[in-house]
Symmetry: D3
Subunit: 338 residues, 6 copies
C-alpha cells in the first residue's frame, strides 16, 4: 500500500505503481498500413500520450480490453523520449473495488477547489445560524443544505466558465454569501428607516440558494459536470426554485417571505438575455445579483490570468469573459526606501 | 322583477330601473368656487357622465355615500342634453344580495368573450379525450381543468394585449389547441418514421396548459384582470409549470413525458426577451409556440381593426402590435356578372 | 444496359459497371517526394476515396485527363482494404450523351426529397383550384407554376438550412400551403363577421408564392444550389414579388388583391433582421409567416435529429438552429397492457 | 387684383383681402351651455385662432357651411386683443376656380424648399448629362425624371424627419447627388487601377434614383405628404426599384449595370433595421449610402437648430435625431484686430 | 431676526415672516377677458399656488417687478381655501445680501442629502488615509478632494435618476467606496497569491474618483444640477480622467498605477451602451463597477418606494428603473409569541 | 555592395546576396524520430519555407543560433523543387548595423502604402494652411503634426481591418481630410445663413486629428502594429483628445472651438457600440464621421477584392466587412461602336 505513488509525482526515469485514467485510445496507421494505437493516461496533474505499436507485448490487450474512460492500476516507468514523456508499462489491470483502500478515487483526475469543502459547508451553516433571524426561513435553508450535503460538497459551480471544478459550487456560494452579507449589512444600517427593513437574513438565504438548482441541472462525474436532460430543458433557475418550494411544503414560513426568496432565485441573473425570467424587484434581490455576478466575473479574470501561460501584459481573449485581462508588468515590489 | 332593464338599452327620453356601476366620482368646482361632482355610471354597453350640482336633491347623498367602484340600482330617465346623454335619477340605492335574483351580476360591466365558456370548456375536454392517448397525461390535463373549472370559465387571457375580456382565456386556449392539433396531425403524418413519433396528444396537452399559470399570475375582478404579487415577481410561465408539477405528484405519468410537458410551458414564448427561459427544443414545443403566437397576434389585429373607429385603409399604430393594420378599401363585394 | 448497377449497391468484392462523379482529385506526395493522386468517386449513396500511385496503370490518365466535377462510367471492383473501401478500376471513360439512355442523370449524386415532385406539384395545383375563389388570382398563381414547372420540380428550398435537396422547394411549399390552408380555414370560421372576410384563397396563393423568388436567387446544379449574383445583391423576397408583378401585367386581378399578395411575399420573414422589409400587416400575411417559419424550423429539427449519429438525449448545437434538439431516451414503445 | 394681400402680411389693425385655409373648426360651449365655435385660419406664414360666438353675424354660416380643410377668400381686419390676434371678418366666401388668376394656390399653406425646383431639376439633368457616360444608363435616368417631372418638382422628401416640405425631394436629391459625385471622383482617381473602374456615372445615377420610390410611397397634398397603401405595405425602397425596372424594359442597358443600379437603391439604407434588405456590396453603393445618410442627418440638425426657438447652447432632444444639437454661444464674430 | 420662520412650518391661519422662491408666474385670463397672474411660492418643504387678481393691491407690483426664479422675503398669512392653501401677502420684497445673516440661503429650496456633507467628506478622507498604501496615489486622491472641496460638499450625483439632491455626490461616493473597500478586502484575502496582489487602495481610489468628472459635467444651481456644454459634448467619464491626469502631472505616481486608476474611471459603466468606452479589464475595476452600479440602482429602488404615495404592493413603473419595485404587504411586525 | 538583391527578385535557379527575416523556425521530427527544422525566410514580396535536415551543414547553427524574428544576410540559391521553392543557403549571418548602408531596413518585410508618406504629409499641411482660417486652431493642428512627424510618416491606420500597412495612417487621413473638405465646402455654401456658419477649417482640423490617438494606442514595429497597454485600457479615441488637450495648454485657441475639436474626436465613431462615447452633435462632427466611416469601409472593399484570389463574381465573407463584395463579371470594356 505504502508503495502507491501518483503519475504526476514520477520523475523521468522513475518506475512506480499508480492509478490512472485511460483518457483516450485512438487507432492510427503507419505509412505502410500497419494499425497501431495512441493512448493517453492521466491523473489530476499529468497527461502522458504514447503509441502502442502493433508488435508490442500489450498490443492485443490494448486492442481488445482497454477502454477509454476507465481507470487502471499500472506499474510503469516514465521515460523521457524525443517525442516527449512516455510510459513503459510493466503491469496493468483495471482498478478494483478494493483499490479504494489504497487510495483510489474515481474523481482523482478532476480539478478541485483549493478550499476544504467541509470547512466551506460549515462556514455557510454558521452564517445561516448567525444572520437568518426568521426561524422558518433559517430552517428552510439549513434543511436543504443538510438534505443535499453530499452532492453539495462535491459539485462544481458550472460546466465551464467559472468555478468549474470539484467543490466549486461551495467556493462560489461562500463568496456570494460573504459579499451579500457585508453589502446588506452596510445598506441596512444606511436605510434603517425603511418599511419593511432591509433583511440581511433574506439576502443570505438568497445567496446560499441562488444556484441550488445546479443540483438538478448538472450531473457531476469523473469527467466534470455535464448537463442533465432536465437541466437543458428547464434550467437551474427554475429547478432551484423547485427545490425551495418542495422544502417549503412542510414549513410554516411566511408566505411573502417565501415569495421573496423564490424571486431572488428567479431574478439573480438580472436580464432576460442573461437568463433571468424577471429582473430584481427589491433590494435584497438586487444585492444577491451583484454579489453573484461580481464573483463569477472575478473568478473568470483570475482563471484567465492563471491558466494562460503567456508573459504579455494582457491575456488573450480566449477565456470565459471573451476579452483581454490586464496583468500589468508584474514587476517585483519595490524595496522600501530607507 | 320583469321590469328590470339595462342602462345601455334605454332610449333617450325613456325611464327605467337598472343596475349600474358608479365608475368614477370626481370633485370639481364652478368658477365662483362652488364644489360639485361629476359622476360616471356604466354597464357593459354604455357609459353616462354628468354633474351633480351642489344644490341638487342628491348632492348630499352623492358626497357622503356614493362610492366609485360600487354598484347601484337606479330608477332614472336618460336625457339627451346639449352636453350629451345624462341621467335624471329618481331613485338610487346600493345593490343588495337579493338583487342577484333580479339578474344583478358583479361582472355585468366587464367585456366578455362572444363564445359560451361552457361550450368552450366542453370542447377542450373532448379534444383531450380524443387525442391524448397516454392515459396518465390525459388525466393530468383533465384533472387540472376540473380542479380550476370555475376560474377557467371566467378568466381573461391577459390584462391587456389580447383576449383581455371575461372567458378570454378559454377562447385563446381553444384556438391554440385547435391550431396545435391540426398542425401536429399534419406533421405526424408527414414524418411518420421518427423515433419517438410526433405526439399529437402531447402537443394538445401543451396547448391546453401553456398559459395555465395565468390562474396565479392574474386576479380576475369586476374591473378586469390585475397582476398578483406572485404574478409580477415570478410570472405565469413558471407558475404554470408549478401547477402541472403539483398535479403530477400523485400521477404515474412517465418521467420524460412530464419533462416534455413542462418544457412546452417553459419554452412557449420562444426567446428570452419574449419571456421564455428556454427555446423550444423538440417538435411539439415548436408547434405549441407557433400556435400560441399566431393566435395572440391575430387577435391583436382583429381588435385593432374592430376598436378603432377611423375609416382609413390602415389603423393607427396605437394598438397592442404597435404597427398599422391594413383594412383595405372595404368595398362591397362586386355583384357577380351574369 | 441491364448490367448497369450503382456504386452504392456494390458489395465488397463485387465488380460492376456504374456511373460516378469524380468529386475530388488531390495531388499529394510520398515521404520520398513522389507525387501521387488521391481521388474520390461518389454517387448519391456512397463516397469512395483512394490513391492512384504514380506507377499505377491509370496514373497518366488520372493526371492528364480526369477532372474533378465530371462524371465517369466505370467498370470496377469494390475492395475492402485496411484503409477502408477502395475501387480497383478496370475501365473508365467520361460519360457520354448516350449514357442517359442507360440511366445516367447528372443530378444522380444530389440528395432528393423523399416525395415525388410530380405528385407534390399536382397537389399544389389542386389546392389552388379548390380554394382560390377569385379567378384572376387563381390564374395568376397557376400560370406562374406552369411557366416555371421544370425548375420548380427540381429546385431545393435553400442552399443550406432546410429542405436543401432536390425538390425541397416543393416539399417545403406543400407543407406551408397545407399549414396556411387549415389555419386560415379555422380563423375564417371563427371571425366570420370581418369585413373584408378572411380570405383562404389569398393565404394559399401567398403560401404557394412566398418563396417563388428562389427561382432567381438560386441556381440549381449537380452540386446543389448556389446563389446567383442577383440573388446576393437583391434577394428572393424582392425577386419573388417581381415574378408576381410580371405575371400580373396582363391579368385583370383586382389592384388591392394584388397588393395584398405582394405584401405577403414582402413580409413573410416578419422582422427586418430576419429579412422582411415590412412586417405582416393583415391576417393572411401573419398566417403565411407562421406557416412558413414553423415548417422551416421544424425541418431543421428533423434534420438535426436524423443527421447527427450520436446517441445522446440531445443533438449538439452544430445544426441550422444552433441549439440542441431533444431526442429523449428513445425507448421502445411499451407493450400495451392486456 | 392688385389689392390681394396675404394674411401673414397684415399689420395689427389693418384690413385686407386675402386667401386662407380654415385649418380647424371646433365646437365648444360656454359655462352656461351655449355652444360656440373656435376657428383657425392660416396661410404659410401665420395662424389666427378665435371664437365665433353664437350671437355673431357669421354664426349660422360658420355652423352650417364652413368646412375645415377648405380655402376661403376673406376681407377681414386683423385685431390685437387680450387673447392675442383675431380676425374681424367682413366678407368671406369659398375660393373659386377663378381665384387662381388672383394668385390663389391650393399649396399656399405648405412649407416649401427655399430653392427653385426648376433650377434644381435642371441641375440634376445637367449632372446626368455630364457624368453618366454609359448612354443607356443616362437615358434610363433622364427618361424617368422627364416622365415624373411634375410630381418630382413638388414632392417632399419625407412625411416628417427631413426635407418634409414642398420640393424637398429635389433639394435632398441634389445634395446627395453632389456628395456622391465629388466623393466618387476622389476615389476613382485614387483607386484608378481597379477592374472594373469606379464608375462616377453609376454613383450619380444611384444618387438621383435612390429615393425615386417616394413617388409611389407618398401622396403629396395641401396638408403635406401622406403614405399611400402601397407605400405602407411595400415601401419606397422596393417601389423605387420597380420604377427603374419598368423603365428598363425597353432599354438596352447592360444587364449587370442595371443590377448594380437596382442594388444601390435596395442597399441605400445600409442595415436591415434601417430599412435596407441588403447591405451595400460595392463601392458606388457604399458612397450613395453615405451621401444620403449624411444629407438626411445634417438637415435634421439644421432643422432642429432653426425650428427650436430656445436660446440655450443646445436644442432639446425633441427633433428627428432624438438628441441635443449643439448651437454654441452664438457670439458675434470678433472684430478683426488692426 | 428671531421671528423668521419657514413657509413649510406655517400652520393654516398663521402669519409669519419667511423667505421663499417665486417658482412660477403665469399670465391667465378670466372668462370676460381680464388678465390675472397665478404665482407659485415655495421653499424646500412646501409649494403654494394662488392667483393675484387684476384688482388686487399687489397686481401692479406682481406684473412689473416680480420675477420667476427670484427669492423674496414675505410677511404673509397661510389661508386654507376651497382651492387649497393660499398666501395672503402683507409685505414682500426681494431678498437682499443682508438677509443671509437672517438665515437666507439661495439653496434653501433644493432637496438635500440627509447626511452631513462635512462628515461624509471627512469619512472619505479617513478611508483614503487608512487604506491607500501607495503614497503618491494617496496624495493624488486627497489633493483632488481638497482642491474641489467646496463643490464636492454641495454637488448632487446626477441631474435625475439617483442621489439627485445637494450633497448627493458625496452620499453616493461614500457608499461606493464602502462597498468597494469591503469587497476588495474579502477578495484580497481570498486570492492572496496573485501577482500583483489585489490592491485595496487602488479600488478605494477608483471608487472615490469614479464620478469625479461630474464636477465638470454638471453645474449645480438653486434649481438643481444642469449639464454644462462640455458635459454634454464630452461627458463625465472622460472629464473625470482629465482631472486625474491634470493632478498627476506633478505627481511621481507609478505610471502603471496611474493607468490602472484611469482605466477604472473609463470602465466603471461596464458596457459601451451603458457609457463605458472600455469594459473593466482587471479585478479592482470590476469591483468598482459593481460597487457603483449596485448603489445607483439600490437608491433608485429606495426613491421609487419613498416618493410614490400609492399603497399597493408594487410601485408603478414610472421611476428611474422603469420597472415596478416590490414593497410587499408592509405588515406590522408580528408580536413575539410568549 | 552593388550586388545586393532582394529575395523576391530572385529567379528560380538564381543565386544572390540579400537580407531576409527568419519569420518562423519550427522543430519537427521524421517518422524514425530524427528531429529537423522547418524554417521560413521572407521579405516584403516573397516567403520561402523549407527544411534543414539534421545532417545538413547548417543544422547546428540553425538549432543553436538562428532566432525567429531576426534578420539575416544570406547568400543563397533559389531552387524550384517538387515541394515548391526552397533556398540552398551558402552563407548566412545576422544583419549588422553596417548593413543599413547597403540598404537593410528593419521594416523591409512590412507592407507599405503605395503613396509617398512625405508627399501625403505635405499635402495635409498645405490643406491645413489653406482652409483653417482660425490661427490658433491652425497652429494647434500643424504643431501636433510637426511634433509627431516621424511616427506619423510610418504609422499604419490600424492593426487589422483597414490601411493596416506602413504609412496607412497618412493614407487614411488624407482621404478623410479630402472627403471632409469637399463635403463641408458644399454644405457651407448651401447653408450660408447659419449662425455660427459651417466651419470648413474646423472639419479639416477634426479630420486630420480624428485618429491621432493611434500614436499612443498602437506601437509600430517590424511585424506591424500592436496595441500598447494604454491603448487597450483607454483607447485611441480618448488618447487622441489627450494629445489635443496637451497641445492646447499653451495655445490661445478659443475655448468653444477647442471643445468642438475635442467633440469631433470623441464622436467620430458615431454610436457607443461602434466606439463613440458621444454621438456627433454638430454639423462638422457629423461630416467627419461620414468622411471617416466611408473611407474605412471603402478600403475594406478594395482590400477584399484585391487580396482574395478567387475568380467568382463575389468575394467570400472572410474579410474585414464580414460580407461578400461584388466584383461583377469583370468583362473587358466594349469597343466603342463606330
Amino acid at each position: 500500500m505504502s508503495d502507491i505513488t501518483s503519475l504526476h509525482l514520477l520523475a523521468p526515469g522513475e518506475m512506480g505503481d499508480f492509478f490512472a485514467l485511460l483518457a483516450e485510445k485512438q487507432v492510427l496507421a503507419t505509412k505502410d498500413g500497419k494499425p497501431y494505437y495512441r493512448v493517453t493516461f492521466c491523473d489530476a496533474g499529468r497527461e502522458v500520450c504514447f503509441p502502442i505499436w502493433s508488435d508490442a507485448t500489450l498490443a492485443a490487450t490494448c486492442r481488445e480490453e482497454w477502454q477509454a474512460g476507465e481507470f487502471y492500476k499500472l506499474r510503469a516507468e516514465l521515460r523521457d523520449t524525443n517525442y516527449g514523456l512516455q510510459l513503459e508499462i510493466h503491469r496493468i489491470r483495471p482498478v478494483e473495488e478494493a483499490d479504494r483502500e489504497d487510495g483510489f478515487d474515481p474523481l482523482m483526475c478532476a480539478a478541485r477547489s483549493r478550499f476544504d469543502p467541509e470547512a466551506m459547508f460549515t462556514e455557510l451553516m454558521e452564517i445561516a445560524e448567525q444572520v437568518i433571524d426568521d426561524e422558518p426561513l433559517r430552517e428552510l435553508v439549513t434543511s436543504i443544505y443538510e438534505q443535499y450535503r453530499d452532492e453539495l460538497l462535491l459539485m462544481p459551480a458550472a460546466q465551464y466558465n467559472h468555478h468549474s471544478y470539484l467543490s466549486g459550487y461551495l467556493e462560489h456560494v461562500v463568496n456570494v454569501t460573504r459579499n451579500a452579507r457585508v453589502l446588506t449589512e452596510l445598506y441596512a444600517q444606511l436605510y434603517d428607516e425603511l418599511t419593511p427593513p432591509i433583511n440581511v437574513g433574506l439576502a443570505v438565504a438568497g445567496a446560499m440558494l441562488h444556484d441550488i438548482g445546479k443540483l438538478r441541472e448538472l450531473a457531476t462525474g469523473p469527467a466534470g459536470a455535464t448537463y442533465t436532460s432536465a437541466g437543458t430543458l428547464i434550467g437551474h433557475v427554475l429547478q432551484g426554485r423547485d427545490i425551495v418550494r418542495e422544502a417549503a411544503v412542510d414549513s410554516d414560513i411566511d408566505e411573502e417571505l417565501l415569495l421573496r426568496l423564490e424571486h431572488i432565485i428567479v431574478s439573480h441573473q438580472r436580464l432576460p438575455e442573461w437568463g433571468a425570467p424577471k429582473p430584481p424587484m427589491f433590494i435584497e434581490a438586487l444585492i444577491v445579483h451583484h454579489s453573484d455576478d461580481l464573483d463569477a466575473k472575478l473568478q473568470m479574470m483570475v482563471t484567465a490570468i492563471s491558466e494562460e501561460s503567456g508573459e504579455g501584459e494582457f491575456t488573450s481573449k480566449r477565456n470565459a469573459l471573451r476579452q483581454p485581462v490586464f496583468r500589468g508588468k508584474l514587476v517585483e515590489p519595490k524595496e522600501e526606501e530607507e
